[in-house]
Amino acid sequence: MITYIAKRLGTGVILALLVTFITFLLLSTSFGDVARTILGQSATPENTAALMTAKGWDRPVIVQYGDWLLSALRGDFGTSVYTSLPVGPSVVQRLLVTLSIIVPALLITAVISTMLGVWAATRGGVVDRIAQGISLIGYIVPGLLLAIGLVVIFAVQLKLLPATGYTPLADDPAAWIRSITIPVIVLTIGGVANMSAQVRGRMIDELRRDYVRTLRTRGVSSTSIVVKHALRNAGSPALTVMSLEFIQMFGAALIIENVFALPGYGSFAFNASLQGDIPVILGITAFGVALVTIVNLTTDLLNGWLNPKARDH
Amino acid sequence: MTLLEIDGLRVAFPGRGFRAAPNEVLHGVSLSVAPGETLGLVGESGSGKTTIGRAVLGLVKPSGGAIRFEGREIGGLQGRARRGLSDDIQVVFQDPYSSLNPSLTIGDTLSEPLIIQGATRRDARARVRTLLDQVGLPSDAVERLPREFSGGQRQRVAIARALGPRPKLIVCDEPVSALDLTTQALVMDLLVDIQRQTGVAYLFVSHDLTVIRHISHRVAVLYRGDLVETGAAVDVTSKPEHPYTRTLLLAAPVADPAEQRRRRDERRATASAGVDR
């Protein structure tokens, strides 16, 4: 088990190095543009070059990357080119906002999808068609339209919830819940569409397996067969889908943060990218990769717990 | 003169996982097949009998020893050189469902090897008709897909495909194991008839001693990657030398209640004698 974790962690570290390096390499092609943007109207070839030297952007890419990596390992991700704020704390602060909508959305998705999927797979008929209908609606409507639609209905027409803005949990828990409600709903609908179909399909497959028939012939109850046996075996592939869903939600959150004017990770990345704020972009990438590694590792560990075969390999 | 000669054949598969030790499934097996002869290879799962067939076909790479066809070493041949052997060595597999591409018509399946050998489309078509006739299938089978045929008929198609390039040796890998009793007998008769007509040699792999006894001139018994006994079919299957062959022989139940009772008692007696020893 320990070698298993070590192996996974090792892969994560390599992934992190590779992704940050590739990002660095790609961004290095636009350092000149960034310098000119910073200087604005006063940009001349001479002072652009001077700025490049001052920032150290004229050195070989590998050296710059090495520098960045060494300080990043010490927890120093540099400062924003524009605001001069330290990158690390800003990213963490923004990340927390995004996680505060993604984590609830993911948990709700997991619960609803499991219930809906199991319900559809074990009841069939009308129940199944309803569940599939729900899933189809989530697929058909793009998240962007869903977000706008919900804002128009709940915030603009009914004035039940705030259209935009974010209140930190520590400031006012009730306001926090109100501010994340619509974003969470939007993410959840998309997630449930995908996940519930997965759970349903896996459950149908499992319930048709030989061992289910054998358990039935021993007098084991339907509840035990569905919950204890079929769901557990269906759980391992569903978990993998869930981890991908989590990562996808990060992409979707980008648009949702924009619609609802949430000061999250995605909008932070967007603004940094628009301005060419290279230290911030790199910090965001590094934290993103770290997060992905953690999610994958957690998934692998859970899979190992669910599926004894995975443990032995 | 021997057609096929296997000398000290070893095959090892890479172990699972990083730097795992390779897993040797054949530990130096020597065999030979004469032209027009059937050599039966019998053994249980894990005996390596199928691997021998696949090594002869060039589908697995030997890790040691030699495979000679008409005196020429073919064990490690790859690519073009190996493909040159395809009109001499052919195959009939065990599973008539997965051995035919479900999306190709029978005609396409049968003409593919002929066209690869350089036949014109017209010649190929004529040859396909002859082949279908030879294995007892109607000529309108050309236009049809494998799923329209039963297991036994599919196996006939597979035999026709193998006969296409007029090979000297056909590796038969459990060709009748998947078939129903009545079909099994018919397909075996067909294989014997074809051998008499064409003088093709068979390397016939099976787990079933009864099948092996019926079709083989000579029999080789394999156990966990080693050859334990080889000889004329009559000798090996009626007065086996090796204890494993005897176990194998006594373990198979016979379709006669009285005879089966006798055999069971004999087997149990042997087993307890083995324990006493």
């Binding site: 790609l26 636009s30 069939g124 008929g125 697929y139 058909i140 409507v141 793009p142 998240g143 339209l145 399909g201 149908i204 048709r208 030989d210 061992y211 054998t214 039935r216 021993r218 007098g219 084991v220 109850s221 067969i225 991908l244 990562i247 990060f250 979707a252 980008l254 990345a269 990218s273 290279i278 994958n296 669910l306 075969k309 | 004469a34 032209p35 060039g58 493909r83 052919q90 597999f93 469902y97 006969l163 998947a178 009793l181 075996m188 051998q195 064409t198 003088g199 787990h207 001693l209 009864t210 099948v211 009559v234 373990a251 139940p253 016979v254 379709a255 006669d256 209640p257 089966q260 055999r263």
Partner: protein
């Protein structure tokens, strides 16, 4: 020696699949179909034409994208032609059918131009994804482990990163140009295609027909093109439909955020501007939203239709614990002699065909088993013998319908009982041993805990008591180290041992009737002999009645008191074992027994040494 038809190794590949999915083997359906008429072979496009969902969505998409192509001819204004006096003009303004936006640009014209932006995005994104994904999938799937490990690693790396975020981060590189962005997005979509192709190729590569092609001298490229791509085609087309939808949605999303040139008309940019204007002109965001929604919805629905057409209908769920389906039949209970433990009368079982008709696979079966008697139910594949056994246990697959007959166990009618009513009988009075040992154990639980659960369900005893009972049984069933096996997972034990475990589970509650469905078919001969010994000993020890379903006359001769021979859903002959073997009455029984390869005959003709290869015609 008679082991007439040992389909051992093969059953592992074919039978379990058909058995666990739809219980009658494919051959029985084929037989039924051959009796009932022609085999349906509908071309794909015909199937699609018959599906209204496919026709309508294709129609919508064709109209929309045709409008896009005709834009230069039909659009009244240029996409960026702004007229100050027309700022936020309402719908219906002359020359501005849907009104104008905040910059005074015609919304209708911009919509038409946006269709083209969407189309270009879709072509670029999907195109790159397909090219990269298919190429890498073929390479990764077909070639050796090292190659696969590399492609695998690269694609899982791409897959684990949030795509949209990456597109944003790379904005300084792409300059926000939507075409460049979509090319990168295509690469990000490629892992999906890669996985589909790689999995299919890995599957196909191990198919024997690919081996046969290689033996026939077919080169690698030709194999990939001819044998592999044909199989991969369907799933790729389905995936492409969904990918076109997601590229368009992502392009809109990015444009909504404001990535890229403001000059490029796109749904996202229009929605964004309409959204900003929500309070001034509430309908502005509606038009692009509707069109975008229509396009993506059509693509998803079309993708679903394509999936149905290519892959056929997927298994449908049905109510768990509902009991077997029974057609309206006369509730006429026939009398059976009191000595009979299980009496089956006129049992008929049918399965629905894709067209909805019912096809009978069991057509009126009569069977009697006395207490303590061993009955062999013999037949070839597709004869309906397993179906008969499943019906008795009450575990027919959901699609199956009992169309007639009666199953009496100790005088009690079993047909029509609900799952809950059957449960007290199962395990306790009637037990089951399956064919395939491995697939009949739940892979996620230790062997012991599965057995304990069964024993407790049947007998309602304490956990501790159940455990000691199971341990004793494992030992009785010939397992050398019961405690260790008890704590093992199914994948850690051998097939023979798994079959012993299943036998222990079946006899744990001393059932009156044991139904064994081909209990030794998946095993090696030497293991088979040991399992047959075990079954015989347990039978006499517990004085169980046993119904053995098999195709192997050797097994029958070894164990059975009486034999019933089954063919195409009917029992053709029943009798004592000695009678059937010694003096078979029915012609089919004689054929079967005649097909058994003789014990004493050997190949006598010498090898033909002079090939007569020309003379085959």
């Amino acid at each position: 020696m008679a082991q007439p038809e040992s389909e051992r190794p093969l059953t592992r590949r074919i039978e379990p699949v058909t058995k666990s999915v739809t219980a009658p083997s494919t051959s029985s359906i084929a037989v039924a179909r051959a009796n009932g008429g022609a085999t349906p072979r509908t071309p794909l496009w015909k199937k699609l034409l018959r599906d209204p969902q496919a026709v309508v969505t294709t129609g919508i998409l064709v109209v929309i994208f045709a409008l896009g192509l005709l834009t230069p001819l039909i659009a009244p204004h240029g996409p960026n032609e702004s007229v100050l006096s027309m700022v936020n003009a309402p719908p219906g303004t002359p020359g501005y059918p849907l009104g104008a936006d905040e910059s005074g640009r015609d919304i209708f014209s911009r919509l038409l131009h946006s269709i083209n932006t969407a189309a270009i995005s879709a072509i670029l994104g999907t195109g790159v994804a397909l090219i990269v994904g298919i190429t890498a999938g073929l390479i990764g799937g077909y070639f050796g482990r090292a190659t696969r490990a590399t492609t695998e690693w690269i694609f899982s790396l791409i897959m684990t990163f949030p795509g949209l975020l990456l597109l944003i981060i790379l904005m300084p590189v792409t300059g926000g140009d939507y075409r460049a962005t979509m090319l990168i997005f295509g690469v990000l979509l490629a892992p999906g295609i890669y996985r589909i192709v790689r999995n299919l190729v890995l599957g196909v590569k191990n198919e024997l027909y690919v081996d046969a092609a290689r033996v026939s001298g077919v080169g690698t490229l030709r194999i990939l093109g001819r044998h592999v791509l044909t199989v991969v085609r369907g799933p790729i087309i389905i995936a492409a439909a969904f990918m076109v939808g997601s590229t368009i949605a992502v392009q809109s999303g990015l444009a909504f955020l404001g990535v890229g040139s403001l000059e490029i008309p796109s749904f996202g940019a229009m929605i964004s501007s309409g959204f900003r204007n929500l309070y001034i002109a509430p309908t502005q965001f509606l038009w692009p939203s509707l069109l975008l929604g229509l396009i993506t919805a059509s693509l998803v629905l079309l993708g679903n239709s394509l999936r149905d057409a290519f892959e056929g209908s997927k298994p449908k769920p049905s109510k768990v614990g509902a009991g077997q389906r029974v057609a309206e039949i006369d509730a006429e209970t026939l009398a059976v002699p009191p000595a009979v433990l299980l009496g089956v009368r006129g049992l008929a079982i049918a399965y629905p065909t894709p067209s909805g008709d019912l096809i009978e696979v069991v057509k009126g079966v009569d069977l009697d088993i006395a207490r303590g008697e061993v009955l062999g139910l013999v037949g070839e594949s597709g004869s309906g013998k397993s179906q008969t056994a499943f019906a008795t246990l009450g575990v027919l697959p959901n699609e199956a319908v009992i169309t007639g007959g009666s199953i009496l166990f100790e005088g009690r009618e079993l047909i029509g009982l609900s799952d809950a009513q059957m449960r007290p009988l199962r395990g306790k009075a009637i037990a089951y041993i399956p064919q395939e040992p491995m697939s009949n154990l739940d892979p996620s639980y230790r062997v012991g805990s599965q057995l304990v659960e069964g024993v407790r369900s049947a007998l309602g005893i304490s956990k501790k008591e159940a455990k000691s009972r199971v341990l004793a049984l494992l030992e009785r069933c010939g397992i050398a180290d019961p405690a260790r096996t008890f704590d093992s997972y199914p994948h850690q034990i051998s097939g023979g041992m798994a079959q012993r475990v299943l036998i222990a589970g079946a006899v744990a509650s001393r059932p009156k009737l044991l139904i064994a469905d081909e209990p030794t078919t998946a095993l090696d001969v030497t293991v088979q002999a040991e399992i047959l010994d075990l079954l015989r000993d347990l039978q006499s020890e517990l004085d169980m009645a046993v119904l053995i379903v098999t195709h192997n006359f050797g097994v029958v001769a070894d164990l059975c008191d009486r034999i019933a021979v089954m063919r195409q859903g009917r029992i053709v002959e029943t009798g004592l074992a000695a009678q059937i073997f010694g003096d078979p009455q029915h012609e089919y029984t004689r054929t079967l027994l005649g097909a058994i390869l003789d014990e004493s005959s050997y190949r006598t003709d010498p090898p033909v040494t002079a090939p007569t290869q020309g003379g085959q015609a």
